[in-house]
């Protein structure tokens, strides 16, 4: 399997690069070195994930399994990369590269950049590892990797009151959430006798024996119900769906802006990814009888929660005066849309959810990063105090506007197509009420965005802004992301048809996932 | 100089390593000696100030003898005494913190005497005043608070041997 080494190499290589970094802090103090180091690492990650994406979708055309240490699946840990994983890994790496470039500009004059970059690399390794892993316990470990990096990054501004308080809240409840997921895993292992995702998927669909892990040992119906409930609670915490959203509006704005972009754009998406994995691959509507009932109940519940989070967050968006807080609430709203759409249980719903995921990630990263430039110039996060700062920074304001328009859904941009797709999916599933939710919360969000744009650009400046030269170091990622928004929009029909349809096909055919794991056992098991 | 100081520390480490591993295979002997040299190198300066004394066999013989005496006779007497007090229905205790003077000089002997006192039930060293050369001992049965009685009852017995070991 030396051909597929890139699959297994990506997250370990990232973390190894993070391991090496503190050695340099002993004798190199120049910031430039660390910038270049982070750039090299993230570029490497992008190349590797892009290659993996190409490999999975265009060369092998089925999930690729990389066994670590040469142990076949239920015994050892495997990375099982299907189209969904490759897709998530690719856009994560791409946006992380942009964030790393942006950080070069953003961290000027800040101390502690070496630790910042180390944690950023850890964050990226955690996210890509979450996407790639084929083992439920390894998912727990990777979740912790990215969570710890996120806690550290949220409190990076150690003298900022709200950052430390938000970090405290986030880390305390985050630790509970991951422990709850661990308890869910205990139930899964107790009943299924295995932790491999393909194995669980096979057994939950009535498969009798899997090589090595043998027969089912416990009452899988009860245990699956408990495990699903617990793990869904944990993942909805990670992705900030309504009852568990309270940490996000504090934590995301308080972090350094590039980190806010990463948290809002990517880290919540890891929760989304895990929900998709659990509701479609590991369990599913085609599971054996009581489990599939549980799954459909969970889906119904998630639809309600998603609708609630969209409505509540969009309503709260209007009253915010802090620009980053406003954007953070918009994240909760969009996560609500995505969760509704992926819980519909239809192919169209999945396609819409996946498409909106990437659009929101790009749009939100762009929005945060543009806002970050304006904030840095204005010296404040209050929209009233930032009035008119956009007039001095035309290009940044342009990208900000593009991001807002895309998130709101203006035709040539990517957001329009994903909202269209969402709308279609909602109508298609026969729940017209959900379409209403989409429209109402979009309308609320529009108000908030108009307030933002009005305050930033159209309002007359109340004070003189100094240091307003636009720099290429931050314009490169901004323009690249803006261009990709346009590109995603233009190529939408093709993208949906070619890529997303393929991914959702694969998701609705979990036996393909199982067979890939099974075939590697045949190779290695002897 | 450091080499000589290393020897007792390395021997201690090696002994603990081998006893704890419970095997004398070549693997353990080789790695045990490597560990012993390593830890001896690191901690010798910290632990041993006089390299000459550390290698004297006579002192080690006294140490062994003292250990046997202490662990059998002294401990037995003290235990019986305290156990009597515990199970006696009236619980005849007469506690107090008394000064107990000592005459030993270097660190190891002071600490060994103190630990010996604490380890026998009935007496606990609460404080050690190096200026006036006094232990402050919490004694379960204060016979008399004057220095002579306390010295005779608490310190003298151990000091006799400890002087031979460390001085």
């Amino acid at each position: 399997m030396f051909d597929f080494i890139t699959i297994g190499l990506t997250p370990p290589l990232m973390i190894a690069m993070a391991f090496v970094l503190p050695i340099f802090t002993l004798f190199i103090r120049r910031k430039g070195f660390y910038d270049v180091y982070a750039l090299i690492a993230t570029t490497l990650a992008l190349i590797l994930t892009a290659y993996n994406y190409y490999l999975v979708l265009y060369v092998v055309k089925q999930p690729i399994v990389y066994p670590f240490g040469g142990w076949p699946p239920p015994i050892g840990i495997v990375y099982e990369v299907d189209a969904l994983s490759a897709y998530f890994g690719l856009f994560t790496a791409a946006i992380m590269l942009m964030i790393a470039i942006y950080s070069i500009w953003y961290l000027k004059g800040t101390s502690g950049y070496e630790w910042y970059y180390t944690m950023l690399l850890g964050l990226e390794a955690g996210m890509i590892g979450c996407a790639y892993t084929g083992d439920a316990f390894n998912l727990f470990v990777m979740l912790e990797v990215l969570s710890v990096a996120a806690y550290g990054l949220v409190v990076f501004y150690r003298m900022s009151h709200e950052a430390v308080e938000a970090g405290m809240k986030y880390s305390l409840i985050g630790a509970v959430a991951t422990t709850v997921y661990f308890i869910a895993l205990v139930f899964i292992y107790g009943s299924f006798g295995t932790l491999n995702m393909a194995d669980i998927a096979y057994k939950s669909r009535g498969g009798i024996t899997f090589p090595y892990s043998g027969m089912i040992v416990g009452n899988i119906h009860l245990a699956s119900a408990v495990a699903l409930a617990l793990s869904m609670w944990a993942f909805t915490f990670k992705s900030a769906v309504v009852p568990n959203h309270f940490w996000l509006p504090d934590a995301h704005p308080a972090a350094p802006t590039p980190v806010s972009a990463a948290l809002s754009g990517l880290v919540v998406k890891v929760g989304i990814y895990a929900i998709i994995r659990f509701l479609y691959t590991i369990y599913g509507l085609d599971s054996v009888q009581p489990i599939s009932n549980v799954v459909s109940t969970v889906m119904k519940l998630l639809i309600v929660l998603g609708a609630l989070s969209a409505l509540i967050a969009s309503a709260l968006m209007i009253v915010q005066s802090d620009i980053k807080r406003l954007i953070a609430y918009s994240t909760i709203m969009h996560v609500g849309f995505i969760v509704i759409s992926l819980s519909l249980g239809t192919k169209l719903g999945i396609e819409a959810a996946l498409y909106h995921t990437v659009n929101h990630a790009v749009g939100k990263a762009l929005l945060f990063m543009s806002a970050g430039v304006l904030i840095k110039v204005a010296g404040s996060r209050d929209i009233d105090e930032m009035s008119g700062v956009g007039r001095y920074l035309r290009l940044t304001t342009l990208t900000l506007t593009l991001a807002v328009l895309s998130l709101e859904g203006l035709p040539p941009l990517a957001g329009f197509f994903s909202k269209l797709l969402l709308y279609e999916a909602f109508i298609d599933s026969g729940l017209a009420l959900l379409a209403m939710v989409l429209i109402i919360s979009s309308a609320f969000a529009l108000l908030a965005y108009i307030k933002l744009l009005y305050g930033v650009y159209f309002k007359l400046p109340t004070k003189e802004f100094t240091n307003v030269r636009e720099e290429w170091t931050y314009l490169i990622p901004l323009l690249a992301l803006a261009a990709s928004l346009v590109l995603l929009g233009i190529s939408a029909p093709m993208f949906v048809e070619k890529v997303l349809a393929y991914i959702s096909d694969e998701l609705f055919n979990p036996l393909k996932y199982v067979r890939a794991a099974d075939s590697i056992i045949k190779v290695l098991g002897g | 100089m450091r080499l000589i100081k290393m020897v007792p520390v390395a021997a201690l480490t090696f002994a603990v390593y081998i006893i704890f591993s419970g095997s004398v295979s070549t693997y353990d002997l080789i790695l045990g000696s490597v560990v012993a040299v390593f830890s001896g190198y690191l901690t010798a300066e910290l632990l041993i100030s006089d390299s000459g004394k550390a290698l004297s066999l006579r002192r080690f013989a006294w140490l062994v003898f003292y250990g046997i005496y202490y662990l059998t006779v002294a401990e037995f007497k003290a235990h019986v005494d305290v156990i009597k007090r515990i199970i006696h229905p009236k619980m005849p205790i007469n506690p107090g913190i008394v000064r107990a003077p000592y005459n030993v000089g270097n660190d190891y002997s002071v600490v060994t005497v103190a630990c010996s006192i604490t380890n026998t039930p009935g007496t606990v060293v609460v404080h050690l005043d190096e200026g006036s050369k006094n232990y402050y001992v919490h004694w379960i049965d204060v016979k008399a608070p004057d220095p002579k009685t306390t010295y005779e009852n608490i310190v003298k017995d151990f000091e006799k041997y400890v002087k031979k070991i460390f001085e």
């Binding site: - | 591993s21 419970g22 235990h79 199970i87 000064r99």
Partner: protein
Amino acid sequence: MIDYVMVVVGGVLLFVGAICDLLGALGMNRFPNFFVRLHAATVGTIGGAFYPLIGASLIAFGSEFLGFYKWFVGGCSLVSAFLILMLAPAGSHALARAAHKSKASEVTPKVVDHLEEDGGVS
């Protein structure tokens, strides 16, 4: 034969240690204040831990049924015995000193407190 002797001697030590332990625990409950309880705790740690550990190591050395690893068990108990002999007095001394210094525990009933007279722990 030597096995039997070792096991029996070890067993006796173990039993005596257990009794010491019980008495120490009893003393912990009966004695009136912290400083007096220290003595009961010493009975519990030296009589109740050091001697039974030596006994356990003797039992282990005599127990052929433990196989090759009997040396490991015996070695562990010997090492822990000497660690306890070394660490227990230091620990209780540190506690006693801290308790006296912080006035966390009264020294009553008492006959005399020379440490208090001399101005306490500096």
